[in-house]
């Protein structure tokens, strides 16, 4: 039964994603198109619905515990949503070969991101609070104290957010691998706050383009429903299991999987299929 199959794909993508700190959208589109032969526009739409589900579920705790910087998130959302709408509109003019090729390249970039994250899993940030309206603070239980930080280079962050939103709408991914490094490396936001803020923004960003796909009739409820439900369950289970797992080996394994999927998507762009 196809419903179960889509649900299981969602669980796998959500769980693997949560174990290594990705949303799962990056795995959903290749899994749905390559293995279940879902047309790519429908797969992107289903993935966006799934991304909204995981982001919303995760944000419940991040927002309640005040780890997400909501003011920073809202400010950057002005750029991600505009990017996402343009991405969603562009996608409906691109054929499946172009989208597969773009997705393949993005998968390769995300594996580079994971590789770097795996090697240096901490980021430096400016501890000096400058009194700006976007400055944040959160409680870090592993340090046992509040971490305060000030936000710098807002224009660069807005530009990166626009690109992240654009790719999100175009390919049905969350865009965390662009926003998180932009916030940590450019804007001086600590890793934990950056990840939680990126996650907070993803729901609204994915929504902006999901509306475009929905109105265009690309949301197939029989695919998107089970995928959204599955990815939520998978992400929840993955987040619970993550502290007990060997993150580095798992990330290395996922890098190999992403590169393999990337090669297949690029081959699919040229009409080739090796399976």
């Amino acid at each position: 039964m196809a419903l179960i199959l889509y649900g299981v794909m969602g669980v796998c993508a959500g769980m693997l994603g949560a174990l290594v700190g990705l949303g799962g959208g990056i795995l959903l589109v290749p899994l749905l198109t390559l293995f279940l032969k879902v047309p790519i526009h429908q797969a992107i739409a289903a993935s966006l619905v799934g991304v909204v589900a995981t982001s919303t579920t995760t944000a419940i705790a991040y927002v309640r515990d005040e780890i997400s910087n909501i003011k920073l998130g809202m400010t950057l959302e002005t750029a991600t949503t505009v990017g996402a709408v343009l991405g969603g509109l562009t996608a409906s003019h691109l054929n499946k070969e172009a989208l597969s090729g773009l997705f393949g390249l993005t998968l390769a970039l995300v594996s580079v991101f994971l590789f770097h994250k795996n090697r240096a899993d901490r980021a430096s940030y400016a501890p000096a609070p400058a009194g700006g309206v976007l400055d944040g603070r959160y409680y870090d239980p592993s340090l046992g104290r509040h971490v305060e930080y000030s936000v710098t280079r807002l224009p660069a962050g807005l530009a990166a957010s626009f690109i992240a939103g654009n790719l999100s709408g175009l390919l049905g991914i969350g865009g965390g691998p662009i926003k998180v490094p932009a916030m940590t490396a450019l804007m001086g936001v600590p890793m934990k706050a950056a990840a939680a803020t990126s996650n907070f923004m993803i729901g609204v960003t994915a929504c902006a383009s999901a509306y475009v796909y929905y109105a265009r009739g690309h949301v197939d409820p029989l695919v998107a429903g089970p995928v959204a439900l599955g990815v939520t369950i998978g992400a929840y289970a993955g987040a619970k299991a993550a502290p007990k797992m060997h993150g580095r080996q798992l990330t290395s394994l996922l890098i190999v999987v992403l590169l393999a999927l990337s090669a297949q998507m690029i081959l699919a762009a040229f009409g080739l299929r090796i399976r």
Binding site: M1, L3, I4, G7, V49, V52, A53, S55, T56, T57, A59, I60, A61, V63, R64, D65, E66, I67, I70, K71, M74, T75, E77, T78, T81, V82, A84, V85, G88, L89, S92, V133, R137, Y138, Y139, H146, G203, V204, A206, C207, A208, S209, A210, Y211, V212, Y213, Y214, A215, R216, G217, V219, D220, P221, L222, A224, G225, P226, A228, L229, T232
Partner: protein, 119 residues
């Protein structure tokens, strides 16, 4: 709660968190019901999302496609609702800069619903 008890945003953050939780639970319940009925009666399923005007009525009659569609619509409305909550929260405390930012994001979301319809 030890997390920033002195934060002026705490009440608003709680409200945002509750909004997200309520939307997510309702959406998941609707989608789970749709999947369960769909698995029991595969003949009732259809690949096109149920049209918005008759969505609630069809979902109430137990149509699995309509239940899945309604779950997706509720899910997709949840982040928009959280923008509305923030807009209200910032406006109420006269934080006009962030109220304007929230209004802009809401405007983009409304625009994206209308722009998708014209191919």
């Amino acid at each position: 709660m030890k997390a920033a008890a002195d934060s002026p945003d705490q009440a608003l953050n709680r409200l945002v968190s509750k909004t997200l939780a309520a939307g997510m639970v309702l959406a998941a319940a609707l989608m789970a019901a749709g999947m369960a009925i769909g698995l029991a009666r595969p003949g009732w399923l259809s690949h096109s999302a149920t049209a918005l005007p008759r969505l609630c009525q069809a979902a109430l009659s137990g149509d699995p496609t309509a239940l899945l569609s309604l779950g997706i619509v509720v899910l997709l409305a949840t982040p928009a609702l959280r923008v509305v909550v923030l807009l209200w929260g910032y406006a109420r405390r006269r934080d006009w800069l962030f109220a304007a930012i929230a209004l802009f994001v809401l405007g983009v979301l409304i625009f994206s619903v209308s722009v998708g319809k014209t191919p």
